[in-house]
Each structure stands twice: as C-alpha cells, then as structure tokens.
Amino acid sequence: MDMHRHGPRNLHREKVQLNNWQQTVTRVWHYLATRKWQLVIVFLLTIVTTAVTIIGNRINGIVIDQYISKHRLQALLIVCAAMIGMYLIASVFTYFQNSIIIKVAQDTSARIRHDVFANLQRLPMTYFDTHDNGDVMSRLTNDVDNINTALMQTFVQLFTGVISVLGMGLAMIILSPLLTGIALLSTLATYLFSKAIAKLTQKAFMTQQAALGSLNTQIEESVSGKQLVQLFDHTTATMTMFNETNETYTKAAFRAQALSSIMGPFNNMTNNIAYLLITAAGAISILTGHGGITVGIIFTFLIYLRNFTGPINNVLNLINTLQLSLASAERVFELIDEAPEQDAPAAVAVKQTTGNVTFEQVSFAYDTRPILKDINLVAKQGEVVALVGPTGAGKTTIMNLLTNLYPLQHGRVLLDGRDVTTMRRQDLRRLVTVVQQESFLFTLTIRENIRLGRPDASDAEVELAAQRANADVFIKQLPAGYDTLLSENAHSLSQGQRQLLSIARAFITGAPVLVLDEATASIDSNTEADVQTAMTALMQDKTSFVIAHRLSTIQSADQILVINDGRVIERGTHQSLLAENGFYAELYNSQFDQA
C-alpha cells in the first residue's frame, strides 16, 4: 500500500534542521513510557522473528549439504517438520508484534493530538492573530501523522533492519569472508551510485519543484479568475503563458525523473552481479578446494543477499525519515509549549454584574504599533453607546479590551468598578456577550449552533431565542428546521441569516453587557430590517456597545463616541454632534449629500 514511498522523492533527501533532538526524543519517550512493557515485548518478538529468518536461511543450506547430498531422507523430513513449526511460531510472533505496535502508535498519536488541541484552546488571541492557520493546521495534521508513521513503521523497520543486517552480516562472515566481501561490495556500489544520482538530480528536482509551484499558481489563478479571463478576452494570452510554464515544468521533471528512473534497474543490476559473483566465486572455490565453501553455503548466501542489500539501503532511508519525523515532533511540541492565556494569580470569580463599564485612560499597542491612545468612557447600566469612525480607527480593539482578549499596556477597564484583568477570564466573558461582525458558525445543527451561547439551554429556550432574533421564520422554512446541519461556516445561508443566528446565540446567553459589531458589508436588503429589529430587541435592558454603521442605531444611542486614529475625537448624542458640525456631521452627511 505504500507505493509512494519508493518514488523518486526518496532520492532527494531533505536536509533537516533539528534544534534539540535529545530533548524531543526524551519527550516522545515520555509518551511511550506508559506502554514500555508492550514495547519490551515487541523488542523481544522482533529479535526472535529476525533470528528465525537468519537461522532458517542457514538451515536451507545445511539441508542441501548434510541431508540431500548425503541422502539422509528421514533426517531431512524431521528437519523440515521442525522448520515448519519454527516458521509458524515466527509468523504468529510477527502478527503480535505488528498488532501491538499499531495499538501503541495510534494511542500515542491520539494523545499527542489531544494535548496539542487542548493547549491550542487555551492560547491567547494574539497567537491566532500572528500565526497562519495553514501552518497550525499542518502541525496538527501532517506533523502528527509523521510521528504516527514513525512510531508505526519507521521505528520497527529500522530496528528490524539493524538486527537483520548485524545478524546476517555476522552469519555471512562466519560462513565465508570471501563471499561476504562480494556482498558488501555490491551494497557499497549501490549506495555510492544512489548518492551520485541524488546529487545529479537534486538540482533538477529543485527546478522541477519551482516550476511546479508557478504552474499550480497559474492554474489556481486562472481558474478562480475565469470570469475575468473571459470578460477581458484573455483566454489565448493566459493559455500561451501557461503552456510555456507547463513545458518548462515537463522539461525539468523529465531531467529529474529520467535520471532517477535509472536507480531501480541499476540496483537490480548490482544485485544480479553480486548474485553471479557469489555463484561463480563459490563454484570456483569449490572446484579449487579453497575456503571450505559448499553448495549449501552458496545457496544460503544467495538468499541472504536478497535480505541484506535491501535492509542496508532501507536503514539509510529510514534514518532520514526518522529525522523528518523528529522535526515534526519538534514542531508539534512547540505548539504544546506555547504559553496559554492565564488569569492573574489573584483573579476572582465574578458571577454577576449590574453592567456599569468604565474605561480609564486606556492605551494599547499591538507589537510596537500604537492602536489606542488615552480612551476614556463611562457607560451606565442599560445605556447604549455607539462607536463610529473609519475602518481601522480602533473601535473593535476597544471592545476586545473589555473582554480581556488582549493585554492592555496602560489604563484600566472596569466592570462595576472592578478591573477586568483581576477577574477570571471565563467569568468575565460570560458576563459580556459579543456579537462579532461575522460570528463563526460551526458544522453543527442550527439548534446546536444557537445553544453554544449557553450549552445547558433547553430546546424551548433555543427556539425562544431564535424567535426573538427574528430567525425563527427562515429556520422553520428550511427542510430540517432547527435540525438543519450547517456546513463549512454555513455557506448555504445568506450573510443576513447568519447574522440572525449569531444574534439568537447572543440572546440565549442572557449576559447583562453586550457588544455588537455591526457588519460593514451590505447584506441582502430584506433581511436587513430583521437584523435591525433583532439587534434593537437584543439591546433591551442591557449595557450595550455598538460599533455602528447603521444610522438607526446611531440616532437612538445614549452616547456616540467618534473614534479616529485610536483617539476619541468627538463625543455626544446624535443631535449634539450634528450641531457641532465636525467630523461626525461630515461622516453622516457624506452618505447622503452627494452631488
């Protein structure tokens, strides 16, 4: 099943950079240590099965020399019966050895996956902002897979390989140093040749990879931009360019693959030559009466040879695979070691709040880039505070500080007079419900997605929340209603419907403080009205912060803060700000008075 592993890639050994392999090995061992007795058993079974192979082959030779040549029929049959027994036991052993390894490897990789995921859940938001999802995913999937493969195959193969090579090498030397020398020479020739070919092909492989990269980019771009290609009559130009890259790729790939396709036949030839040398050398020394070689020994050697060159080449490849796996393990452990978000040492549990929020001289910088400067704000219980301003002014950041999503550098954010950084994060976040511009919907049913707001909510509560969020109507129109399974961030729903669901989710939390980040992108017009009434209903009796784009929200707000460039530049009510005729008035009017 593992055809791919023998592809030309094996030739092109990647250079692996390991920072601290001893430590990584130790940590992998910690995972395995709980299964150490099973591993010891595997170790013993491997020694037995390998020994059976070596001894069995030797007996083959002895049978020819001692029994067949000397016409001892009865003894021959007894030995054969014994061999059958021996092989049966070896096969049973191999079966157990492989079964145990599979269990250990799968359990271990499941545990590693769990540990990575568990830590990932507790990482601070800054981690997700600064790390590419693709990279994290690749650690969670490919790298854990690599560890799994290493445990399941590489490790055992390497171990078996080393034992076979050592055991057989020893047996061969004892039998005939001359024939051993010939076998070693052929192995050496194969190794040197593959090294030389690898060197020759490396450059070709690199060109091939580079060409493949730009080939794939062009395919991706032109297919996703198909409509543009057609609209601007670019088909011919695109294809001309593509065909050029396509040809470059083929040329580079041909150079690389043609060279490396010689590998197989070459190995085959060296094996055949070793084969003939052993036969010929053996025959000559029998004829000249030197070296104590018998027909049986030649026979044993021929079979050893098949089992010798293979493992040695294999061992070299496996060491490289093992290095790659260690590098993977290192990347995985890096993720496990990432410092999680931690509450302050004396963080207190807070179960309720009246909803008075104060920002005192809050400043915040991302890396060294200042985002917020000296923000002051007092929101009393039940008030609606609107934040307006251009994109990138820092409105969302202000609200992220309220839920302690990022560490602030200066000033304090208070909830009921208590610094939010002294509260347990989980408590704080249960008291402040955030409706993001685009809340994420998971691959769960609609019911489960709404319930995420408060996992112990009953079905009736979920449906009530949906009704209050104006989502009930469209949900009931879906074929499976509340049990409709959403997939891949709910692409089957319109953006407006997705918003209604996230509002329903916010309804169900019942938290006294609300942050609403209105979507900037326009949504379909008939849902827009639903979204607005739902948002208004949601804000009832709550201290609400609205990052506002809609005029109705702004007009009815108790306070409006105009944010620009990380500062509050104006504040007041809709009327007072219009009268001021400043930035707000300009922003407001720009939407209507166009000439």
Partner: protein, 580 residues
C-alpha cells in the same frame, strides 16, 4: 481511463508509451535468466568440475545483468517522457476547457483546481506505472512460473497450490480493508474539520467561553479516529505474516519433497536451488502486483474526476458571426428567461430598455438574479430565451470579442492576479499608458494608495492580491474595469467592501466622468442607485418595479422599506439628481 491517456499522447510520445513496456519485457527476460544459469553452474559446472563452463556461464550472467540495466534504464526514460508529456497535454487541455467553458452551474473552482493539479499528477504516475510496473511485475510473475516449471517440473505443483491461496488471501484482505480505510478517512476529515473550525472560530470560542465544550467534542472525534485507524490497520496486519509463512512453507516443502526426489536421483541440487530462487522472485512480484492493483484503483478515481472536467468541453461551435462592433451603446432585454433548471428560472421574463448614455440601477435581495443578468449581457452563458441587444444588435450575432469590446464589468469578486499593479490594471487593455491608468485610478479612488506604494504601478501584487486590503482590492478591481474605456460599464456590487465615505467618493467621480455614458450599477445600497436615470427592483428573478427614485418610492413597497431601513426616516427627500 485508457481513453484519456490515448487522447493526450501523440507522435513521439505515443511511440514512447508503447515502446517502453516492450523494452521492459527485455529487462524481465534478462532477470529470469539468472537462476537458470546459476543452476547450470552448480549442476553442470560443479558436478563435472568444468571450470571453463563455470566461467562461461558466469559471463552469460554478467551480460544479462548489464543488458537488464540497459533495457531498464531505457524503459524508465521512455516511460518518464511519455507520462510527463501526457500530463502536460492533459493539463493544458483541461485548463482550456475550464477557461472557455460557458455552461452555467459547472464545477466549483476549488474542485477544478484539484483536478487539474493533483488528479493529473495521479494520472501521470499511472502512466509511469503502466509503462514500467504493469509489465514488469506480472511478467516477472508469469515468467517466474514458466521458468520454474521448465527448470524443475517435479516441484511445480507447490507453486500451483501456494499461488492461488496467496492471491485469494491478498484480495480478500484488500477488499475487507477498503471500507475500513474509507471509514478512517472520514474520521480524519471530521477531526481536521473540527480543528480547522476551531482555528477559524477562535474568537467566537473565546467570546462564548466554549473552550471546554469544544475540547469535549474534539475528544469524541479523536477517539473515533483512533478507533477507526486501529481497525483499518488491524485488518491488514495479518497480511505480511501470512505471506511470509506461505513463502517459507513453500521453501520447506521444496526442500523436503525436492530433497527426497534428489535423494532418489530424480532431480539435482541445482534445480532445487533455482526453484527456491524463482519462488522468492515470484512472491515479491506478486506483492508488487497487488500494490499496483491498489494504486490502479486509486488512479481510476482520478481518471473519473479528470474525465468529468473534459466532458464539460462543449462540442457546440459558436455560429459564424459578425465581428463588427455596433456603434450604439443602448441595452435592451426583451422577455429574457434563464435558469439552470427549467422549473426554477433565475431570471423570469425580464424586459427593459436602457437608452445610450443613461444610467441604470439594479437593486434587490441576494439571489434575485442581479449577477445572472450581467452574466447574460456579457455572454458568460448563452442558455436563455428571449433577446438581448447592444446598440440594436442581438448579442448572439456578435462575436464574444465584439461584445467585450463594448462592455466591461467591475465584478463583485475583486480577484487580483499575481504580478504587478500595472499588469492587473492593464489586464483588459495591454496598451494602456500611465496617464490612462492614473485617470482610471483617480475615478476608482485607488490613486491615493497606489501613489503611496514605493514602486507605484510596478509594485508587486501577491497571489489573490493578499498584500492589499479588501477595500483596496475592490478599488483596483474598479480601476481595472475602467482602464479599457468601453462604452458600457457595469458595476456589479463592486463597492461592497469599501467604507461608505470612499464609496460615496467613487460614486461622485464616476458621475463626473461618465455622465453621458451607459452605466449599470448593481448594489444593495440605496444610496448607490438612487440617482440613476432608471432603477430596476429585481426580486426572485422578476422585475417588480421599474422607474426613477421618486417613482419607486410611490410604486414599490420593497424599495420604500429599503430606503427607510438604510437611510432612516425622512432623509430621502434630499436625493440629488445627477446632472446629465
């Protein structure tokens, strides 16, 4: 599958494709000579003490080894050439099909991309395999059997017992394990999905304190994955000990039974040795064959997926049409109906006339058919009933190029290509000068950030325009549509990601530069369409209202409601009229 391969290899490539397996036969033949020659050395050379014969046979063996290398290397080279050339032709063919395809409702881009990249690579590997392994493994198998029967007919029954058992056993295991591996793959997909969603939804998870809830879910899926993987692996774990056992049993029987025959002088030692060697060769050839069958079945899946893309190639030739570009730039839809399925029309009896130089606004909910209307006008699809005319000429009588000489669209999806700002802006007009680009950028309000880029027009654009913000991409997208200076410009919700101030600015500048040129604005924002000469309200594929802003306020409930929610009460009276 074979058809796909044959369609994409021609001339030299085709010769290589057929020559390679023939040459492989040579390599197999050489390989098969070795055990027989060796047996000769032992039986004839040793038994008769004939040193000369030993050396002669050894030289034969050497010659066959070297010949084997020559055959093998030649076959490999020819095979690589054939497979790569086939891949090249196939990729190019598939991309062309994908790009010229004008059927509505085709494959998703992501799927298409995978098919043109991964699946073609699979096909390429398959051809490589056909030229080498497909011949080598079965031929070694067959040849091994024939040779061992020739060398030692008395022992042949051993093969005839062991081989069928081995084959049946392997096929049984493979068949049994396939559904288990499918299950495992599903579990892998689920775990990956949970992980991916946790990364994408990290903020939502934190906001709703769902960390533990998610971890519980993950633990369930992770346990499921562990279980299914173990099951799948356990199903195949029996394979290698059994193969090993059967082979060993074969060897023992050959020795025991062969030995007793040798003792009674029926066969020789050399024959036994040769037979055992053939048996080892046969077994490894058999394992290879099974591997190839597995790989082959995987390639069939790829081939089916590739064929589905090729099937989209329409045999229909576009009728011979005039390439004359009409002078007028009025647009007319006359009773146009369009739908992917007959029962569910996307556009339903749509008729309107837009005089040259006038502005048309189209507003309506998502999925009402606004973009489809534009797709028909630009001839992205032709499967509609009714007539569409530009400048009085039916667009079906115009060549595609002629239609595109007349009209450009700023699409909703502001995809940029990797290259430079210039290469993107001149996408529709290779010959555009910097002055032309500057003018277009000014209208699209793209000048302010493009002028600030260190390399200006030569600033690099990464794949999908990742190094620009959503708003900047949309502005470049608009500019790209303006650069070719076509008579008719369509803005298909092209400002959805720019902030409202910039949106207003773009609108103002468009009005200034195109006041007497035909322009179609599709939008969800009332402010974007309210000043157009005509506005169409499109709901569920039908025009439910058609008129000026003032008329629609009276006629259309939908429109009135939209104005209220978007503009608040009372301000719509301020709508300015565009001076034309």
């Amino acid at each position: 599958m074979f058809r796909i391969v044959m369609q994409h290899i021609h001339g030299k490539t085709r010769i290589c494709f057929f020559l390679a397996p023939l040459i492989m036969l040579g390599e197999v033949f050489c390989d098969l000579q070795q055990p027989t020659l060796m047996s000769n050395i032992i039986d004839h050379g040793l038994a008769k003490g004939d040193m000369h014969f030993v050396i002669q046979e050894a030289l034969w063996m050497l010659m066959f080894a070297v010949l084997g290398l020559i055959f093998g290397a030649t076959c490999g080279t020819l095979g690589s050439y054939a497979s790569l050339k086939m891949g090249e032709a196939l990729r190019s063919h598939m991309l062309t099909v994908a790009l010229v395809d004008r059927q509505p409702g085709g494959l998703e881009p992501a799927t298409l991309i995978t098919r043109i990249t991964n699946d073609v690579t699979q096909m390429q590997n398959l051809v490589m395999m056909i030229t080498r392994g497909m011949v080598r493994a079965p031929m070694l198998l067959l040849g091994g059997v024939v040779m061992s029967v020739i060398v030692c007919p008395d022992l042949a029954p051993i093969l005839f017992v062991i081989m069928p058992i081995l084959v049946i056993f392997m096929l049984w295991i493979v068949r049994r394990s396939i559904p288990l591996y499918t299950k495992m793959q599903q579990a892998v997909d689920t775990v990956n999905r949970v992980m991916r969603e946790n990364l994408q939804g990290a903020k939502t998870i934190k906001a709703y304190v769902l960390e533990d809830h998610q971890l519980d879910q993950f633990n369930d899926e992770n346990a499921q994955l562990r279980q299914t993987s173990q099951r799948a692996a356990m199903a195949t774990v029996i394979l290698s000990p059994v193969i090993q056992l059967l082979l060993n049993l074969g060897v023992v029987v050959a020795l025991g039974y062969g030995g007793s025959l040798a003792i009674s002088q029926t066969i020789s030692d050399g024959q036994i040795i040769a037979f055992v060697n053939y048996m080892i060769q046969i077994t490894s050839a058999m394992i290879q064959t099974v591997n190839i069958i597995t790989a082959f079945s995987r390639a069939i899946t790829s081939a089916t997926r590739v064929q589905a893309v090729l099937d989209e190639e329409s045999a229909e030739q576009l009728p011979v049409v005039t390439t004359v570009v009409p002078t007028g730039s009025d647009v007319e839809f006359d009773d146009v109906t369009f739908g992917y399925q007959q029962s569910q029309p996307i556009l339903n009896h749509v008729s309107f006339k837009l005089p040259a130089g006038k502005w048309l606004g189209i507003i309506g909910p998502t999925g009402a058919g606004k973009s489809s209307l534009i797709n028909l006008l630009t001839r992205s699809f032709d499967q509609y009933t009714g007539t569409i005319k530009i400048g009085g000429t039916d667009i079906q009588e115009m060549s595609l190029a002629a239609v595109h000489q007349k009209i450009t669209v700023a699409l909703q999806d502001s995809l940029l290509f990797s290259g430079t700002v210039r290469s993107n802006l001149t996408y529709g007009a290779k010959a555009a000068t910097d002055v032309g680009l500057a003018a277009a950028n000014q209208v699209a309000v793209a000048d302010e950030f493009v002028d600030r880029l260190p390399a200006n027009y030569d600033a690099p654009v990464e794949q999908a325009g990742k190094n620009f913000s959503g708003g900047q991409r949309q502005r470049l997208n608009i500019s790209r549509a303006i650069v070719p200076k076509r008579d008719i410009l369509v803005m298909d919700d092209a400002t959805s990601a720019v902030d409202q101030t910039t949106n207003a600015e773009i609108k103002t500048r468009l009005e200034q530069t195109r006041s007497d040129q035909t322009t179609v604005i599709i939008s969800q924002r009332v402010t974007n369409v309210m000043d157009c000469d005509q506005i169409i309200v499109l709901e569920d594929g039908q025009i439910t209202a058609h008129g000026s802003h003032a008329e629609l306020l009276k006629q259309s409930d939908f429109y009135r409601q939209l104005v209220q929610t978007q503009l608040g009460g009372g301000r719509h009276g301020h709508a300015s009229t565009r001076t034309s």
